[in-house]
Amino acid sequence: MALLTVDRVSKSFAGNRVLHEVSFDVRAGEVLALVGENGAGKSTVLSLITGMQAPDAGELRLDGEPLRAWSPLRARAAGISSVHQELSLNPHQTVAENVFLGQWPARRGLVLGRDLARRARPLLERVGLDVDPRTRAGRLSLGQQQLVELAKALVCAPRLLILDEATSALDDDQVQAVFRVVRELRAAGSSVVTVSHRMAELFAISDRLTVLKDGAVMATRDRAGTDHDDIVRLMIGRELSDLFPAKAAPTKAATAPALRARGLTVPGGCAGVDLELTPGRILGLGGLQGQGQRAVLRALFGLARHGGEIELAGRPAKLSSPREAIRARIAYVPEDRKVEGLHVAQSVRANLALTNLDTVAPARRLTTVDRNAEAGLVADLIDRMRIKAASPSQEARRLSGGNQQKVALARWLPSEPRVLLLAEPTRGIDVGTKREIYHLLRRLADDGVAVLVTSGDTMELVGLCDEVAVMYEGAVVERLAGGDLTEERLVRASVNPAVTHA
């Protein structure tokens, strides 16, 4: 018996058809995966289920009853809770307050902080989160915040849990915690709909997979009756060969590093990190989530105050602001693209132009923006990166997650950076695009860019990087390259640095 039926629903935004007669159902006690490229319409379908939006045509049925006047409030009351792609925690409130947001336990109208924390604890434990419920949510790492979102979704014991890329910022351990929750729910007869671009995860946890392409359902498959290649073929409509590009040829006569850091230290972030970023090579920063990788990148881009020495092309340099870093031709794609990576409320055009105003609005035109040059630059980047946008004037926040990431990266390309810093470059990005980005990064490296990448995805680091520096509690504890760079060694070095280090 289907718990939820999605029956031929369609949805358009401003004449742009996003969903076309989408049908699938979610059975009681199953885990259904929704798969599809960026912009395929996954989040949009889910927003219909959670009552955030209403379909233009078609019908949704819960327990056979058509949903009328559906709203987020009613969906919650009906036992549907969700973890969204976008984080929605209030950074100024405590973890416990966030978990119980809107349903604070109160005694005679008084919210009791102690009470709240006590009641939040078991929920946090359930999602494998070891933090004090009284910490402010804003102090947590992205991954921890995502787990708090999950805890929040569990407060009302859902019958249907929706996970829209709820694991995108999590490391392997944290993903296992999420899986544990999902399995518990399934065992209790609840259903889960999950969206992720990490295929391995989908295969590990789901019972059935529904593939969306360009807003239409291509197929629904039982897990046992399908495999990775089959799903990818349905998703992107073609075979996907060599996900990762070939690595750099091992040492063509020692190239001088483009950037060298010695004893790089950020208070509360990283300590004594030595790094050499060499043109032509992709260096990875691995390790568990939140071991100081982010601090290293932010320091190198002048966003975090830091100690230690930095040399650029052999000359000592001070990077005390992003402007100085940019002048030194360092580019940075942050992990939180909604906050730092993009101006989400501005158009794709404005976003792409902002970092290239030197060329688009040159001093010889008295810094007047040259509309033609701007349009050309934007069209070229949209084309080159295959950014899927309704038009260049579409607001960045209206793009699907993957396309936002492409914009965040594309905006740096025209200035031809020498050093490219990327935090989680493929978070929330579909396999086809991942492949594009991997190959693009390799091409950039081949053209002489020094690339530094952080990633929580072990497979990605192993497949993409020439060398990986594993971080633990703010320090580099292991460097893996060549034959040593395997998933197994990487995982072992990340979780048990003391042993491998000894």
Partner: protein
């Protein structure tokens, strides 16, 4: 959406909903005034309106720059008085030209101090500008011993009262300033930075937007324009007073917002502010024409501003 002003300036401005709305409301109000009130159908009344709107309009253009980068300038009323009073005082001893220069220089100085406070001391714009405004007002009191001078300076007199081809010079000056502001905000690099800062400080920082330069330009220009308005007002009335800027504080912000610019920054168009300033001036004139008492007039104006805001310039939910 970030609206731009290329060759097809008019079209783009129209597409920016709320700025276009401001012009629509202005036209309707004007038509209503002509139809239902006395004395709004003559050329001289149009002249008078555009002339008086110019004082407010010049200040509001500067305010737009600041609001667009999600700041606010609450020192404009004091700066208006500052430039006029100082100019009158200096010109008494050293001639008109010196008076004008010194008046503008001290105005600009206030803007730069505002920028320093907002930028380096990280005082919220509202607090910083209110504080400098209060300090300026206080020092004027000390400087003039409570009795500011009057002055008749030829250049200012003609700037405020003369006409070219029937059009008040003050209005021409306002339009010229608007043209420059349109270029600055909607066609130049600085404008892109202002809009970027108005939408997200963090993202702007990580994009290499020069926060410092942009802040100095916006607050500097705002104060300078308030100074210019003060000088024109001095020319208009030939006297300076310590309170002559007071009405313009809130009206300049109201012009910006009624012109469709988001008070949170990052959204809007300078031309909307022009409509906003004309609209507010027109409403004030209407209320005066109806012989309402000062108190009732202020109450009505306040209510009208709220009503108009609700009608079309409300903040959107994101």
């Amino acid at each position: 959406m970030m609206t731009a002003l290329p060759r097809t300036a008019g079209l783009r401005a129209l597409r920016d909903h709320r700025a276009a709305w401001a012009f629509g409301v202005l036209l309707v109000t004007w038509a209503a005034a002509i139809l239902f009130a006395n004395g709004f159908d003559s050329v001289s009344s149009v002249r008078y309106l555009t002339q008086t709107a110019s004082f407010l309009g010049i200040i509001a253009i500067g305010q737009t720059l600041v609001v667009m980068m999600s700041g606010i300038d609450l020192s404009v009323s004091s700066v208006v008085a500052l430039s006029a009073v100082v100019c009158a005082q200096v010109s008494a001893g050293h001639g008109g030209a010196a008076g004008i220069l010194v008046g503008l220089a001290v105005s600009l100085l206030v803007g730069l101090v505002n920028a320093v406070g907002v930028l380096w001391l990280r005082v919220p714009p509202m607090v910083m500008t209110l504080a400098t405004g209060t300090i300026v007002a206080g020092s004027l009191l000390v400087y003039t011993n409570g009795s500011p001078k009057s002055a008749k300076i030829g250049l200012l007199d003609s700037l405020a009262n003369d006409r070219v081809a029937g059009i008040p010079l003050a209005f021409v000056l306002w339009l010229a300033i608007t043209a420059v502001a349109v270029w600055l905000l909607h066609a130049s690099r600085v404008g892109r930075y202002v809009f970027a800062l108005g939408t997200s400080q963090e993202a702007s920082r990580a994009s290499g937007v020069p926060l410092g330069v942009t802040t100095f330009i916006a607050y500097g220009a705002c104060a300078l324009l308030a100074g210019v308005a003060g000088l024109v007002l001095l020319g208009f009335t030939a006297t300076s007073s310590l309170t002559m800027g007071n009405p313009y504080q809130l009206l300049s912000i109201a012009s910006v917002v009624l012109g469709g610019t988001s008070i949170l920054g990052g959204r809007g168009h300078v031309l909307g502010t022009v409509a906003g300033a004309l609209l507010l001036t027109l409403l004030t004139a209407l209320l005066t024409a109806w012989n309402l008492s000062e108190g009732v007039r202020q109450m009505t104006l306040g209510l009208l501003i709220i009503a108009l805001l609700l009608a079309y310039a409300r903040e959107r939910r994101t």
